[in-house]
Amino acid sequence: MQSIDRNIQRALFRALRDRPLNLMEDEDRKLYEPLHDDRHDPVKRLFDTIDFSEVESVQLVAGFRGTGKTTELSRLEKDLWEAGFHVIRVDLDDFIDMHSPVDIREFLLILAGALSEQLTNERLLGQEKGLEKSFVERMRSLLPKMPSEITANAGVANVKLALRGDPGFRGQIREQLSGRLAELTKQIRAYHEEILEALRERAGREVRLVVILDSLEHLRGTGETSEVVRRSVEELFFTHAARISLPNTHMVMSVPAFLFLEANNLAAQFMNGAVQAWPAYQVQRRDGGRTEVVDRIIRLVERRGDWKQILPDQTALEKLILASGGHLRDLLNMLVEAVHLARHGVNAESAEKIIGVAQRAYLPLYKDEIDVLGRIAAEKSLKDVRAEEQERVLRFLDSGVLLCYLNDDFWYDVHPLVRDVVQST
């Protein structure tokens, strides 16, 4: 039993650390391995819908944590640029307080402000065009009573800070824009027209703009706020769907999973609307058989480093992949644990040990959890979930205890790491 060299260990640790890849960058592209097959590739579906829609479209992406969604959205961005689209990608985590109810008036302002900030990117309008100023001026005319330090000298950054961190400021916006939603929508659209015109002018041709809004799925209250946040999100997407789409623009928004789970008419709310779900990678079929995704994941691991330094053989690696249930973050955590254990030598029991450690994160499961998970595991679906249990199921999906898969339809299973416990208890 030989222990691993310290430098190799460190290099592997850093390569396997979980982080989203940005495929717009060369270094990250080397680490990327496509895991979806063509038929179920959500990026391809998103791209096709954008490409085939003539003027505008809205696509909602219901994704779960740790399934590589941010990396895949960066692939979409890269593909779109390569196909001649203009792309604005915004991480709304920087703009929205994800634990408070969201209001359509704030959302529209955030949308305009976020676009304005991204336009300074050299591939779009660049620093000099100064459309940021225009946004602030519009905001000032809309909100004449707003405090001077927010709307006067300040740029988007200040507004961003106040919107995200100051519930009082958000309250004032709601109050001042009360009964003026139509006016606000008109202003935002006029501003967006200005953006399109400026992009056309700079490009010297017609521009097909795609706006990708990432991290909106984090919009979920926790504990006592979850109900009110959920209602506010539903209102945003169902009551105000027409207002949040931008004219002559394709939009891709990641949305909380509950919207997708609870409503089947979501896509119909938008012109050229579509809903794509971002499942976990299906490493096993419903009947338990191994899929070819396992081979792709092995290639992904190979891109990150020489896994033979930390695991005895491919069987051990496959064991880990199957135990991860296709949840990439869990797999990477297990591989980091493999790096750790390898310093005492790699042996035949390594995989079992690593799986044991990974299981601890999810255990113990409590009686109330096991009741619900047991029913889902038996049926591989959510149809037996009672209304009062929905919140809990969403939490399971959020934390990865429950995984969502897609063949031709969606199906659900408890994480392989806890399956035995659920079935045996």
């Binding site: 260990q9 460190r10 640790f13 850093r14 979980d18 944590r65 740790g66 985590d93 920087d94 307080d97 994800m98 634990h99 009573k145 405090p147 330090e149 927010i150 961190g165 100051d166 009082g168 400021f169 309250g171 004032q172 109050e175 984090h218 926790t222 504990g223 973050r329 955590n333 980091v336 644990e337 750790h340 310093r343 005492h344 044991g356 450690v357 299981q359 601890r360 994160a361 999810y362 255990l363 113990p364 499961l365 409590y366 009686k367 109330d368 959890e369 096991i370 939490r395 959020d398 934390s399 990865g400 205890v401 416990v421 045996s424 208890t425």
Partner: protein
Amino acid sequence: MTPDEAEAWDRLAFHLENQIGFWFALVVGDDPRPRATLREETRRWCGEHGMTFHVHAPPPELLASLAVELARGAPPGMHWIRADGPDGLIEQWDAATAQLVLAMNERREAYRKRLDGGIILEGRDSLKRLLRELAPDMFSIRAFIAEPEGSVRDRPQSAIEWQNPIRSFVTLTGVASDPDRELQRASRLAGIEAISAKRARMTALYRAAAGLLSVERVEEAERYAEALAAEDEEFRKAHPAVALSPLSLSALNALRGAIASELGKPDQALRYLGESISSLAESSTNTEDHQEHFAFRLAIDVLQTRGNVQLTQGDLAGAEDSFRTRHDFLASVAQASPEVEEFQLDAALAARQLARVRMGRGDRITAEEQMRSVVALVAQKAQENPVEARWRIELLECRRDLGQALMERGDLSGAREEYNAALSVAREFMEIEASDRWLRQLVQIQSLLCSTCLAQRDFDTALSWSERSLGLLEKRQWDRSNAVSLAWSLAFGYAQRAEILVGKEDLAGASVSLLNAWQEAKSLPLPRSEAQMAAAIVARHGMLGQAVFFATTEAHRLRPLGGDNGEAPDLWGAIRQSVGLFKRALLLGTRLLKLNPKDSAVRAMIATVYKHLLLLKSLQGTRRSARRLRRKLRALHRRRPSR
């Protein structure tokens, strides 16, 4: 280390060596000992590798605010957060941890951007579910979960019932307002005429003042609380609809009272607190259900502050009245909900507090009876909940207080029994975690045992207790944050040993020990919390000064006239030694008096020392310095604060 601890430590060390930037991990388990082992190993590792190690161990009610502090840009290094401990009941910790992980989840991006180092969250097994449910993002980005107690997978997997965190405590443990943000908001709202804006400004001002007080920016807190009170006064005349409701007004006056008390303005504090109670009584007629809990907690807090202020003013009758009312409130709630541990604990604490004040008033029989009933209740609770450290802490403190009550009544053997019981609990905690906190408890109880033995004139046992305490303290293995307090304990320990040696008539030994006490104390900062120890050291200097002088004069008197069988006692040397002791007493006493000029006991003690010194100076024939001392004594009397 056990094999499980070694395995967990190996994993933790691996991440310490390799992680860069911000990372997050958990150390969980219901047994605090293995967690303490890992914490100490991490501290050692950080020390050896030049990494700063910060342990955050706030009481449960301040836990959530820690998430905010760390997000503001904490210093680089390892941040170890303890979300469990003897300062709260398990259910209180669960509620507080729920708030903490919620607040951390909201701020994960701030940590990623601003924190160069790891956060390790230490807590009970329930921490894993709380994190999984309430902070899925933090759960998702965890680096690892260490379980030094052994894997839960190895334990029997019968389905465990989940206990939701208690609501009453959750309401108290929210993240405190950021005062600067509230002030910005208040200034933005200034001048806006809409009623809702005016209300919002008043709320912002209140939160700002409360937030400023909590971060000890007391003068600023006073300014904004007064600004709010003035605005409310104006609105009351011009727009009564905007003025504060009786309940809000009560909260404002409670805040003003607390601020005035912090600023050392007891009369003002009592006035505000009285107004707060009046408004609270007015509000009780139209309080809605959801405000009831707030009103109750407010009343409890106001009575606590008022009692404390009355104590500092020496108004023991008033303090007893405040604490009795508070106790009656809490006892009635505890009686109505016997299943809520938190209420039982609050009632026990209030009863003990009341008993202490009664003792101070000389009502020793009632105090002792009350103390005994609290001890019985707490002992029963501690027995019923052996894993609940908070009840054991309370048992330790109750037994210590009962011991003091018995000592006051002259029941010295009873007192010794109680102190010994308290000591065994303190030793249990010390065994779990050899920290400064338990060291201080051990030393304090041993010192009380020592005092009991002294009172029984059992000098040998007293000396053995004293030596044990000094043995623990002289190692000086203290955290910087506790160094002052423990150094005062050491100085006091030397002074107490000097007193024992005086009892054993070893004046030379006593002088050496008291010189050690002086050397330790002379350059130490003197915070209010250590005033009692400093006063005891002053008193022992006075006592030894007298003892040395009188012993020598007595020896001189008893020396056979004209005889040459024995060396003549050095009277002048003894006077010089006594003068030195009195001078040291005056130096320390003067510092003490500056700390609290109204402390009449210290003033009287200093005056006595001056008189003794004056006598010796007269004997020495140094008239000029005797005159100077007389002037100082007169000045001391002149500066006596009026009652």
